[in-house]
């Protein structure tokens, strides 16, 4: 497992402990990613308001071993179904 994947898993574990209603976490990777690119996670959450796609950026959290920035998109299970049906789109970055 590469370093980026390890960090993605650390963030996912942390969020499973702290975010209520979190069902699933997907790591989104791109062929353009470099070693310094932010970790991008798509989180499927029961409790989150269904307002569409709003990526939120976070700085690294070094004391937790999260040494890269991250971008989190939090959506409801219903929005996830819409994403899979291509009625919603993730931003290209």
């Amino acid at each position: 497992m590469d370093a980026r994947q390890l960090i993605a898993e650390k963030i996912a574990r942390l969020h499973k402990e702290t975010q209520s209603g979190l069902q699933k976490v997907f790591s989104i990777r791109s062929s353009d990613d470099t070693a310094k690119s932010p970790i991008r996670l798509l989180e499927i959450v029961d409790d989150t308001p269904a307002v569409g796609i709003f990526p939120i950026g976070f700085r690294p959290i070094h004391h937790l071993g999260i040494t890269l920035p991250s971008v989190i998109v939090e959506i409801t299970p219903f929005e996830y179904d819409n994403l899979r049906a291509r009625k919603l789109n993730l931003p290209h970055r």
């Binding site: 969020h15 702290t18 975010q19 209520s20 310094k36 932010p38 409790d47 989150t48 308001p49 269904a50 307002v51 569409g52 709003f54 990526p55 939120i56 950026g57 976070f58 700085r59 690294p60 959290i61 890269l68 920035p69 991250s70 971008v71 989190i72 939090e74």
Partner: protein, 159 residues
């Protein structure tokens, strides 16, 4: 629209990791929240000139804005109350502005150095409580709702 630019700057600086200190990052969040709250007040009949100079609106007005947006989304009261229970976070965002120092008790801010026991503290080297609270329960969700509310106001401006 200006608040939207601030929240975009927050996201842009996030992508850059440690290239800039946390205070720069948080400064954009504070400015985005301040502009959102003032836009809400102006939209509801407040005189723009009277609210221009003061910053201490975030802790009082921002929860009301998010409460309104959540109610519009038919969110249940129990969920709204849980969501808005992060009242400390709203207060900490207010304290990021130098003009909000709680009568001198909270001099730390994102812009100017301050004295602590005769020692000069520089924002660029300070660890802000607001940053820690944002990583805890609801922080992520509150940021999402702030972004959503800003977009709603942008859409109102455009219509």
């Amino acid at each position: 629209m200006q608040a939207d630019a601030d929240i975009s700057a927050w996201n842009y600086l996030s992508d850059l990791g440690d290239e800039f200190p946390a205070c720069q990052h948080l400064h954009f969040l504070q400015m985005a929240c301040e502009k959102l709250t003032k836009a809400y007040l102006c939209h509801n009949g407040f005189d723009p000139l009277k609210i221009q100079s003061s910053h201490a609106y975030i802790r009082k007005v921002l929860p009301r804005i998010l409460e309104y947006e959540l109610a519009e989304l038919k969110t249940g009261n129990d969920k709204i109350n849980t969501f808005l229970g992060s009242i400390k976070l709203f207060a900490e965002i207010d304290f990021l502005a130098p003009s909000n120092d709680d009568g001198g008790a909270r001099p730390e801010n994102c812009e100017y150095p301050w004295l602590n026991n005769d020692k000069v503290i520089v924002p660029a080297k300070h660890r802000f409580w607001a940053a820690d609270l944002l990583k805890q329960t609801n922080g992520q969700r509150i940021l999402k709702m702030i972004s959503f509310a800003i977009k709603r106001y942008c859409d109102l401006e455009d219509s």
